[in-house]
Amino acid sequence: MAFTSFSDFIAMGGYSFYVWLAYGVSIVSVIALITHSVLTRKKILKQVEQRLQREKRIKAANNREHSL
């Protein structure tokens, strides 16, 4: 362990602002990347699903027209 206490650890030998800024921004960017990737995938799946349902409805409507 390089630090004697937890407050020592937070202080980072006087460089707390720079160290935590660097680590904080990095973590936030990684989380943003993960979120974006997950949302993109969900969006695509939803789009396909909606398209399929639409096609199903159109098909059903056509069938009804023909049966009349």
């Binding site: 006087g14 660097a22 990737s37 699903e49």
Partner: protein, 248 residues
Amino acid sequence: MWKWLHPYAKAEHSYALAGKLMPWFLVLTIPSFIIGIVWGLAFAPADYQQGDSFRIIYIHVPAAMMAMAAYSTMAIAAFIGLVWQLRLAEMAVAAAAPVGAIYTFIALFTGAAWGKPMWGAWWVWDARLTSELILLFVYMGIIALYNAFSDKVLAGRAASILTLVGVINLPIIHFSVVWWNTLHQGATITKFEQPSIATEMLIPLLIMIFSFATFLGVMILYRFRSELLQREQHRAWVIKLVQIKGRG
């Protein structure tokens, strides 16, 4: 070999393979990230000159290295995609670009936050920093170009060409600190010499590099699968997949 590779050139098989590989990369990423970051932040000794500010190295160096590794991967994929007209390779280019861009941004930002207390400036227009900034712009250019076309076949080709154009930047970034007088120091870890960092500081650094590499793998595989779904959305296998998901 071609016989063995051939099925993976089919979208459905690649989708399944990527899905099988992803958890393995994820299983490697999470523990190595936790161990690496705790070791680097709390257990590695402080540097004799830079004190605790040197701990920024544990994200700066892995991010910079893997940003370049991601680009090399993209360049190889772009080359294969252009010559053999393999759409899957072009999708891999599109999948990797945002991950590489984020890594480059992290490398630049952590570098600035490290440069301010140590060098005395957030930013200096030296050859290393400038070429790294150009890498970020190239990444953003590739992403923008790929999204600018609604015809994804054309988009893939345009993005691949831009990727190959930008590959010249890689040796410039790598050798900038050797070729020119820069404020940025030389490489700490090189393949051929003993690393100029004490062992107890080196081990967590290597763990973090490994973690960034496997996370790069996870993200590329994940985004590659999304890319596949998007571009093959009218194919039977995607429809089947969505229907199964919808029922479950």
